[in-house]
């Protein structure tokens, strides 16, 4: 016999299912009347300091089909790398957004401010990135990943450095398609599979 560890196991995840929108984004499915104010509609308010950017993409399944039912949440700091609630954080950046693949095209768009770099506990700097969490029918536990930016200095980023197969790093890097415009596609499975995280 040993002493007991006073720990509880984490509750098991279950799929968000095909109707996740009625709970998390009711206006997406025409149910906007239910709440006065839907949360996660924008990560920024007008006047946020920094470069305003738009990231467009799709979530593809293992057959190459752009999923119509994926729901994504994003979390990021302001242009200086400070998260909402931290000292000195930009009051116009709440940092959280919910967005969904369009029911017709399967494309999503995130309009936000470009984030600043964030330090690790040991002081090493991480390149600017946005954290994502993806849920949908057939995804049994939400998938974590990150968006980095092709026009930032990513070579010293500690997370990207841990990716053994170097071509896979590209799956986490948004490609610039115009001024303030980026493309970021997510592939759940197979060729070009996105690096998903366990953090």
């Amino acid at each position: 016999m040993t002493q007991k560890l006073d720990m509880l196991p984490e509750t098991a995840s279950q799929t968000a299912g095909p109707y996740v929108h009625i709970g998390l984004m009711p206006s997406y499915t025409g149910n906007g009347q239910i709440f006065d104010q839907e949360i996660g509609q924008s990560p920024i308010e007008e006047g946020a300091a920094g470069e305003i950017i738009e990231i467009t993409g799709s979530v593809y399944d293992g057959t190459g089909w752009a999923m119509r039912d994926a729901l994504i949440e994003s979390w990021q700091p302001d242009a200086q790398g400070r998260f909402a609630g931290q000292e000195g954080a930009d009051p116009k950046v709440n940092g959280f957004c919910r967005f969904a693949a369009d029911a017709t095209s399967g494309e999503f768009t995130l309009r936000t401010v470009k984030p600043g770099p964030v330090a690790l506990r040991d002081g090493r700097m991480q390149a600017p990135h946005i954290s994502l969490w993806i849920v949908a029918r057939g995804i049994n536990i939400g998938l974590q990943t990150r968006i980095y930016f092709e026009d930032e200095e990513n070579s010293a980023d500690p997370l990207l450095a841990r990716i053994e197969q170097r071509p896979r790093v590209e799956t986490l890097i948004a490609k610039k398609t115009g001024a303030g415009q980026y493309r970021f596609d997510i592939r759940l499975q197979g060729e070009g599979e996105t690096v998903f995280l366990d953090i």
């Binding site: 098991a12 279950q14 109707y19 009625i22 239910i34 293992g62 964030v118 995804i139 690096v195």
Partner: protein, 242 residues
């Protein structure tokens, strides 16, 4: 000094397996390659916060919130209540809990749901609330119906309520489903069966809670939720390798 350290790494064996051919949609939607593991950073340890100012008075009352109090939804009246805790057993205060569900006939108010059962004009099927200072939450709703779904030849979902919880860190984010004690469809459900650890599935089954049921009004079901905790040590601030 005691640091509120990195998140405790997830024990994936407690969670459903991502690829499970009995739940057909997982086959093309589960990654083939291993996840990349790393200690959490501020990107995962911080997270959005929400305040009472963003919520309405009826947001946690699914019987009345769709009609803004004008007419109650049809169904067996229930209270769903419980506590949000972390792995160390501490209540998670002031965190957002959101739920969504089918109506009493097993139909969702979603444009993609075409089940035979009719919509209830007085039921929207979504609610949200903030936990109190001890991590407690509650919803008043109706018991959702079971319903068939296209998977194998004749699959039915047991009665369930979807539940989404934030915690205080973005990487604590969790969506799960609450099932009801005694439902004979639970052992037949391929989605419930994606959880291979039997004790973990049992923890998703809410017991009938007569002590919190109100005579001549509603039954209560208790559902506690445990989120990831934080590592705590005096050594977290030291550089790698000390």
């Amino acid at each position: 000094m005691l640091d509120n350290g990195p998140l405790i790494p997830r024990n994936r064996a407690l969670h459903p397996i991502p690829y499970d051919p009995d739940y057909k949609t997982t086959v093309a939607r589960s990654p083939y390659l291993p996840l990349l593991s790393m200690d959490s950073s501020a990107s995962e340890e911080t997270g959005p916060t929400f305040g009472h100012g963003q919520l309405g008075a009826l947001d946690n009352n699914l019987i009345l919130n769709w009609t803004r109090g004008a007419a109650p939804a049809i169904g067996e009246r229930i209270v769903m209540h419980g506590r949000v805790l972390d792995e160390r057993g501490r209540g998670v205060p002031h965190t957002l809990v959101e739920i969504w569900q089918a109506n009493a006939g097993g139909r969702y108010r979603h444009k993609k749901d075409g089940y035979l059962a009719p919509l209830d004009p007085n039921f929207g099927g979504a609610g949200r609330t903030l936990t109190d200072a001890d991590g407690n939450y509650q919803f008043l709703t109706i018991r959702p119906g079971a319903y068939p779904w296209p998977n194998r030849g004749n699959d039915w979902r047991p009665m369930h309520i979807h539940i989404s919880v934030f915690g205080h860190s973005f990487a604590q984010r969790l969506i799960t489903q609450m099932y009801f004690e005694g439902d004979p469809l639970i052992p037949l459900c391929p989605i419930a069966a994606t959880i291979k650890n039997r004790a973990q599935l049992d923890r998703l089954v809410a017991p009938l809670d007569m002590a919190n049921s109100k005579p001549l009004d509603y039954l209560a079901y208790k559902f506690d939720i445990v989120l990831r905790g934080r590592r705590q040590s005096m050594f977290e601030n030291k550089p790698e390798g000390m």
